[in-house]
């Protein structure tokens, strides 16, 4: 018993320096940023040795989401959501596809694996510059068809002003209600099998009610803005998404390939013996077994997509509403417009969005651990 508590003490003392350092340099600074985001630090004397700051509560946040001047930020936020979804779908889909092909052990598998993984080793700023050149309006990809005698493409990869899937930010509240209803119903359907009573009472019922209310009473809800403001998926971001998928598909490929190799050959042989086709093997056995890998790839890639900065900076520059991203506007607001409080608020919004991805993951992992 004594031995054990001494061991615990030792472990605690060994961990203490890193606890203190992380406490100060990670959580301390996050706390400081939250504090700054609730002040009015900015403008005239912002860079004085002792700048004047006043506490203004959540004013910066409400300004970001409903202020007349912040439509740029809102566009960036919408862009970021579309980026994340497209990057996840693209990188995971493509990575898995390549991994399945390589799992068939073609000739020169090692060489191919290296080739596909190689883009990962480039820095974003380098690949961004390469892609900027490739997607230039009068060069690169657009002139490829002329080599086979076709007219050149005219698509403006990084400067198109068209947008699809547009919605009106005025109806922010309604959109939030729809999302909430959707989430409730999904959880309800998931719980339905195990505890049907609870599912209907706690999840499905409220979900349907909220959804109906948002649908029928949407026009009664207060509007977030006094004028119409539409945001959507800008086609100009396609170029950036392509470049990022190109760079990260190799990474997910490596993850999946390691997973596929870890599945025992016996299992595969048994499945084949039972008459499973290759497609059925991957669909019903291999891919479901790699669920932990998929989850961690989703977490990592969504974080990367939220931190996206250098590749956009290299490809389309700092002021470009079509391809803007909150990380860029945070930098510009802070260091160009000297608006430190607003920059901090943008940082916290991004931090919250990232937390939305990682917290459920950590919680579910923790639960599994204690149950097991």
């Amino acid at each position: 018993m004594r031995e054990a508590s001494r061991d615990r003490l030792k472990a605690f003392l060994t961990l203490l320096p890193s606890i203190i350092l992380i406490g100060v340099f990670v959580y301390g600074f996050i706390g400081n940023t939250i504090w700054i985001s609730m002040t009015d630090w900015g403008g005239d004397g912002a860079l004085a040795l002792e700048p004047e700051m006043e506490f203004v509560g959540l004013a910066n946040y409400s300004d970001l989401f409903t202020g007349f001047l912040s439509s740029g930020f809102r566009q960036d936020l919408v862009n970021a959501v579309y980026y994340s979804v497209m990057l996840l779908a693209g990188a995971i889909g493509l990575g898995m596809f390549i991994a399945i092909l390589l799992d068939q052990k073609p000739k020169g598998e090692d060489l191919l694996r290296t080739i596909f993984l190689y883009p990962m080793s480039l820095s974003f700023i380098v690949s961004g510059t390469i892609w900027r050149w490739l997607l230039a309006p009068q060069g690169g990809v657009n002139v490829l068809p002329t080599y086979v005698g076709l007219p050149p493409l005219t698509f403006q990869w990084t400067s198109s002003t068209k947008a699809v899937l547009e919605f009106n930010w005025q109806n922010l509240l309604q959109i939030f209600l729809y999302i909430a209803a959707f989430a409730l119903i999904i959880i309800g359907l998931w719980v339905l099998k195990t505890r049907p009573h609870r599912a209907v009472k706690l999840w499905l019922g409220p979900g349907v009610v909220i959804g109906l209310f948002a649908w029928l009473g949407g026009s009664l809800l207060p509007q977030a803005l006094f004028m119409e403001e539409t945001h959507g998926f800008n086609l100009a971001t396609l170029g950036i998404i392509m470049a990022t998928v190109w760079q990260y598909a190799g990474y997910t490929m490596a993850l999946y390939l390691a997973g596929f190799n870890g599945i025992s050959q016996d299992l595969r042989d048994a499945a084949m013996l039972d008459g499973a086709s290759t497609t059925a093997y991957y669909r019903h056995i291999a891919i479901p077994m790699l669920k932990p890998i998929t989850i961690s790839a989703v977490i990592i890639l969504s974080h990367i997509s939220l931190k996206m900065f250098d590749i956009i900076f290299a490809m389309t520059g700092p002021d470009n509403a079509q391809t803007g991203h909150p990380a860029l506007s945070m930098y510009m607001t802070t260091f160009r417009a000297n608006d430190f409080a607003r920059g901090a608020a943008i940082a916290i919004v991004l931090f919250m969005v990232a937390a939305m991805f990682i917290v459920p993951y950590v919680v579910s992992q923790y639960r599994q651990r204690t149950r097991g």
């Binding site: 403008g43 001047l69 400067s159 520059g317 002021d319 509403a321 160009r336």
Partner: protein, 420 residues
């Protein structure tokens, strides 16, 4: 108590320097001098020439050339801010003269007043009085201007215009008349590039639409941004935008100028660094291979911007920095730097024979035209306004709603305390 003692010593030191300039001149300077700028690339050689001149005078000083690349100093300014907030200023740093310096660093009480240097060197007479007013406040003069650039210039290729049968428009009405014709022939009437060049075009159009007096009134807070005159300027700007290239946001300013050189576009409105690009990089002869005119409706007006260097409080090598500022403001320094950089000297007594044909004409105009400050390049408004304006411009490019952006500008002006 400690602070005031330090200040007292500083005052004493300054007084000592003023009373015995002979002694301080004779003293050999040594140690380091860190010069912080964004002059890399095409502008690098001009800076090197200045540093060489400084080294000749002060051979024992070790010059540290801290250059951070990036157009208009976007990156350099961010690095500078983190350094200043960390209380680690360089000895002297580059900054656009005017409100960009005053609204950021002077308001924050981080700069030293340079009036003493202007008086000691006789610069009060060698710089134009109007310029000194724009780089100073009632509390002092805050930087030593090194260059003068003109922002409202329209560039064209005379041979191309002749081929297409058009002349450089004197007014925007003229431009709007010839533009559809050019467009029909597949020529972009006005070449434009990424966001900041759109701001650059806007200031020329707004100056044309408002006139110099109202332009000044706008920045003095005497004319509101949501007034009908400004809305009209935005409407005119919207009409002109129809005749620009659609892929603008993915081009650099050089690529937009290239479009004009290659005959894909007829005109380009850009600052006169475009002349430096065409004459130095493209080896074109000014006046023959390329031509210029003041941008439409702004004849007799000179919209200027200027690079300058200041002296931050607490500079580690103050004496070396002051010697550097003396080189920058001197006639010799100015005439060494500017012909290489492709700008004109802010001094009234510069040696014009060292400059090319374009720069000579710009210099003549600077002497007689009405001088107004540029928005896109930091003279007219502080950084809070400039940062927000770039976002408002994106809003306009998307919606083309002149009234809404005018209202947004007024909100931004209130927030950034324009004219107060």
């Amino acid at each position: 108590m400690k602070m005031s003692l330090a200040k007292l010593f500083l005052v004493l030191a300054v007084a000592l320097m003023l009373t015995v300039p002979q002694v301080s001149m004779a003293k050999e300077l040594n140690g380091d001098l860190e010069i912080f700028s964004w002059w890399a690339g095409d502008e690098g050689p001009a800076l090197q020439a200045l540093i060489k001149q400084y080294k000749d005078q002060n051979p024992n000083v070790n010059v540290i050339d801290a250059t951070v690349t990036g157009g208009s100093g976007v990156n350099a300014k961010a690095v500078l801010k983190t350094r200043m907030l960390g209380n680690e200023p360089p000895d002297s740093f580059q900054v656009h003269s005017g409100q960009e310096l005053i609204g950021t660093w002077v308001k924050a009480d981080r700069m030293e007043d340079l009036t003493f240097l202007f008086k000691e060197q006789g610069w009060m007479d060698s710089f134009p009085a109007g310029l000194i007013k724009l780089i100073g406040t009632d509390k002092g003069i805050w930087s030593v201007p090194v260059t003068i650039h003109r922002s409202n210039v329209m560039w064209y290729i005379p041979a191309n215009l002749k081929k297409w049968g058009v002349t450089a428009p004197k007014t925007w009405a003229d431009f709007l008349k010839i533009a559809p014709k050019l467009q029909k022939e597949g020529i972009v009437p006005l070449a434009m590039a990424e966001n900041w060049t759109v701001n650059h075009l806007w200031e020329s159009v707004a100056l044309a639409s408002l006139g110099a007096d109202k332009w000044d009134a706008l920045w003095a807070g005497k004319l509101r941004f949501d007034s009908p005159e400004v809305v009209k300027a935005w409407e005119l700007f919207g009409k002109i935008l129809k005749y620009t290239n659609k892929d603008a946001s993915s081009l650099s300013w050089q690529q937009a100028t290239d479009m004009m050189i290659d005959g894909k576009a007829a005109f380009n409105i850009m600052g006169d660094w475009a002349a430096g690009y065409m004459s130095t990089t493209k080896k074109m002869a000014p006046g023959k291979d390329f031509g210029w005119a003041t941008s439409p409706d702004t004849g007799g007006e000179f919209m200027f911007l200027s690079d300058s260097f200041g002296l931050p409080k607490g500079a580690p090598n103050r004496d070396n920095a002051i010697a550097w500022l003396k080189v920058l403001g001197s006639k010799k320094g100015s005439d060494t730097f500017n012909p290489l950089k492709g700008s004109i000297s802010p001094r009234t007594d510069s040696d014009l024979s060292k400059y090319n044909a374009y720069l000579q004409s710009a210099s003549a105009d600077f002497g007689k035209d009405r001088v107004v400050g540029s928005l896109a390049h930091g003279v007219a408004a502080n950084e809070t306004f400039m940062g927000g304006f770039s976002q408002i411009m994106e809003m306009f490019l998307k919606t083309h709603n002149a009234k809404a952006v005018s209202m947004a500008c007024q909100q931004l002006a209130d927030k950034s305390k324009i004219g107060k």
